[in-house]
């Protein structure tokens, strides 16, 4: 080979200043800080340990579901069944609580994995479009949850109650679990072969296949993970409210989770997963809800406000993309 007369590779200059591009890349964090600041100034009783702690506790279910969703979205998929899976998991707890807390939780989480396996198989192996496969599971799953869950049941098991409302060193268990999930997912996406494969498949499935990646296995794994996490979120939510309501638990969770993921900067077209962004996205959503309640905004206005804030937040990070031309 000829010795290459090469130009030294130019390092891309990473702008350290805060400019439009920086805001675009960090839009969700900017929005989060902005909304926090607004609340600190304008909202009575907002700055208190209790309030902030409460937001962290309340965000947990959305956060955990959103992380699973982010993985699925990274594969250019979507999972509408998460809310129903939460309900199934929660409905199983009272049924198996007789065998002990651990068994009940394991059974519930296992059910999530099975549902994810079904979704993953339909998407990865049968080739059904994700939205429709998971929509079917969502409809059937909610029915199933109602069927064997029956009426809403209170859960009095001390283990579950402790899981939902206990804390260690002042940090609630649920928050610790969510943090662990987020850290684990972050690690998975950044460092594991699975994570690399996932984004490759989401980026160009055909190319990934031709590069010999185990596309189906990765897809199935991803939906299983998402199902698992949804079930975990269902368990935690049930534990916190000390009840399991198969009809209402996790209702519309799929939309919140997807919103959190997109707010966090993960494109729905797949090929990228941003875990930290997703966490911030979920927190942003939570903060929006809290803000509206704190100001006692009526439902109609609240929905309109929510719509506007969400679009504005996404615009902050995506809107300038086109200016690149």
């Amino acid at each position: 080979m000829r010795t290459p007369a090469e130009t030294p590779p130019k390092r891309r200059t990473r702008p350290r200043r805060i400019d439009a591009d920086w805001i675009r890349r960090n839009g969700v964090y900017v929005a989060l800080v902005l909304l926090l600041a607004i609340n600190v100034v304008f909202t009575d009783n907002f700055v208190s340990e209790g309030t902030l702690r409460l937001q962290l506790i309340q965000v947990v279910p959305v956060l955990i579901v959103a992380i699973g969703m982010a993985l699925v979205i990274g594969t250019e998929g979507i999972d509408l069944s998460v809310g129903a899976v939460m309900a199934i998991a929660a409905a199983l707890i009272p049924l198996y609580i007789g065998y002990g807390t651990l068994v009940a939780v394991l059974v519930a989480v296992l059910a999530g994995a099975i549902s994810g396996l079904l979704a993953g198989t339909l998407v990865g192996r049968v080739g059904v479009q994700p939205i429709i496969a998971t929509l079917g599971i969502m409809v059937a799953g909610r029915g199933l949850a109602n069927l064997f869950g029956g009426e809403i049941k209170s859960i009095r098991d001390p283990g579950i109650v402790e899981l939902g409302s206990g804390s260690v060193l002042g940090i609630p268990y649920v928050v610790l679990i969510a943090a662990a999930v987020a850290a684990g997912a972050w690690f998975l996406v950044r460092r594991s072969t699975y994570g690399r494969r996932l984004v490759a498949i989401g980026g160009n499935k055909r190319a990934a296949e031709l590069a010999g990646l185990p596309v189906r296995r990765v897809l199935v794994t991803t939906y299983v993970l998402c199902g698992l996490l949804a079930a975990l979120a269902g368990v935690l939510l049930a534990a916190r409210s000390q009840a399991s309501d198969p009809t209402k638990l996790g209702l519309l969770m799929e939309l919140s989770a997807i919103t959190a993921v997109v707010l966090g900067g993960t494109p729905l077209s797949g090929g990228q997963v941003r875990i930290a962004g997703t966490v911030a996205g979920a927190l942003l959503l939570q903060l929006i809800t809290a803000t509206l309640i704190f100001h006692d905004i009526p439902d109609s206005t609240a929905q309109i406000a929510q719509a506007v804030i969400v679009v504005a937040a996404v615009y902050v990070q995506l809107g300038r993309k086109k200016a690149r031309r």
Partner: protein, 507 residues
């Protein structure tokens, strides 16, 4: 007629164009050449409103223009074939050709019959025999390029720009394309033509502009420049330094005294292949020749397990490979560089690094975790060895020039240390320098015992690069040129014979 003055364009820190002056006269065919990443495609995109220039002006017909989007340029009378085929795979060929300006009936509705008829005429006049109601995506890349040509010439344009239109074309289609281009030029249309097949430039073009690192380094009459001079301009080196023998960088024949490492027997793919047999020995470069759509790409895909075969077997190193399974083929030591790099090769939003390391992840990870350091080292090696021009290994492949994307893919496969390397148009869209390197690389690898199957639509590459050429026609082997019979003339004859027979069969 179409001119730029001092056009500058940069992406982040990458200066793709620096003060480029360019001018196209009426009725001329203007060659635009340069190494991979020199800025040719960028210039074309600036000209046609895909990008806005950072600085500089564009004039069309003496008036300053500013196109905001490709539609504006088209409306002004500039039609363009972009480098990567930019058509819609899920629509029919006819729809693709007439998208946006379909023939109408009196009621204002699309006249589908007329559209199909005119499309059939149009592609027919380009010498292509396809069903114009079939989805474009089912056709090979070469055919798609011809469809893009059909679309570009089917409108009355004042300027036609073609960014590497011939990269997947066979000699016959190239000839057709040249005919079309000359006819257009004779009508007063100005043409811009980009190609890395330098010979084509002298056959077709009147004038030439050479870009290097985003700067215009030469502009003048094509005839006044010889091959060495052109290359010297492109590379920015002295003529003497560049002077070399041979049209390609291939060396002599290779040792091929052993048992075949790859044998494929009776490969059948529905409607595509009808019992193809192949055998390649270690160290041998086997060429696959054939006309457009003869089934060359299908053959290598079938060997690689990427196309469901009905029957037939593939053995590597004497052991059978599970059919229809890419991972098994890979594990057995087969690698495929596929021809359609946009659809089947690159993962545009991943970095150069991740694209290169994609196929070797299992080998470069422990306990499911990626060994980043080792990958960095590997990527470093290949970026240097193949002279991949990227701002950094972290740059997204999407942002690389076409030729550099191709090199990234070659690197991806070389990492897997294959025993058998199936190369479908490996030098497609890469510049002379790199082409020579890739050719030398193929040679070197064969020298080290790698078995290579080479598909190329460039005759020289096949004749000089391969030890043996198997000629396909209609999904079956129609002949073979052995070592001693392997000349351009013979190959041409074999292909022509195939074509002639096909004609006969058609009547």
């Amino acid at each position: 007629m179409l001119e730029t003055e001092g056009v500058t364009k940069s992406f982040g820190g990458v200066h793709a164009l620096r003060g480029v002056d360019f001018s196209l006269a009426q009725g001329e065919i203007h060659a635009l050449v340069g190494e991979n990443g020199a800025g040719k495609s960028t210039l074309i995109k600036v000209l046609t409103g895909v990008y806005r220039p950072d600085e500089g002006t564009i004039r069309f017909d003496g008036r300053e223009v500013s196109f905001h989007r490709p539609a504006d340029a088209q409306r002004a009378g500039i039609s363009t074939i972009y480098q990567e085929v930019n058509l819609v795979p899920l629509l029919s060929v006819a729809r693709n050709i007439f998208l946006g300006r379909e023939p109408r009936t009196r009621l204002g509705l699309v006249d589908v019959a007329a559209m199909n008829r005119r499309a059939a005429e149009l592609v027919g006049s380009l010498g292509i025999d396809i069903d114009v109601t079939a989805d474009l995506g089912t056709l090979g890349l070469g055919i798609q390029q011809m469809v893009a040509l059909a679309r570009a010439v089917s409108v009355d344009s004042r300027v036609v720009i073609m960014d590497e239109p011939t990269s997947s074309l066979e000699a016959k289609e190239v000839a057709t394309l040249f005919d079309v281009a000359r006819t257009l030029a004779a009508r007063g249309v100005g043409l811009v033509f980009v190609s890395h097949r330098l010979d084509e430039l002298w056959q077709l073009c009147d004038r030439v502009t050479v870009l290097r690192d985003g700067r215009r380094v030469h502009s003048g009459s094509m005839a006044e420049l010889d091959r060495l001079g052109l290359i010297a301009h492109m590379l920015g080196r002295e003529v003497a330094e560049v002077a070399r023998e041979g049209a390609t960088e291939f060396g002599d024949t290779h040792r091929r005294d052993q048992e075949p490492v790859l044998t494929a027997h009776g490969l059948q793919v529905r409607n595509r292949l009808h019992g193809v047999d192949l055998a390649v020995r270690p160290g041998e470069v086997l060429g696959l020749g054939g006309l457009l759509g003869s089934g060359r790409s299908e053959t290598v895909k079938a060997v690689y397990g990427a196309l469901p075969v009905r029957s037939g077997s593939v053995h590597v190193g004497g052991r059978p490979v599970r059919p229809n399974s890419v991972p098994h083929a890979l594990r057995a030591g087969v690698a495929l560089l596929s021809e359609d790099r946009k659809a089947e090769g690159i993962i545009a939003d991943l970095s150069v690094r991740d694209n290169i390391a994609l196929a070797v992840l299992p080998r470069f990870s422990r306990g499911g975790l990626v060994a980043e350091k080792r990958i960095d080292a590997l990527v470093e090696t290949f970026v240097r060895r193949l002279r991949i021009k990227a701002a950094s290994p972290q740059q997204k492949v999407r942002e690389l020039s076409g030729g550099n994307q191709q090199k990234v893919l070659i690197a991806r496969w070389l990492c897997t240390e294959p025993k058998v390397f199936l190369l479908d148009e490996p030098t497609r869209g890469i510049d002379v320098g790199a082409k020579a390197e890739v050719q030398a690389l193929i040679d070197e690898l064969a020298e080290q015992g790698l078995a290579v199957v080479l598909i190329s639509s460039e005759m020289d590459e096949l004749v000089e690069g391969a030890d043996r050429v198997v000629v396909l026609r209609d999904g079956a082997v129609s002949g073979e040129l052995s070592e001693d019979r392997k000349t351009s003339a013979a190959l041409l004859a074999a292909l022509a014979g195939a074509a002639a027979e096909e004609e006969g069969g058609d009547e």
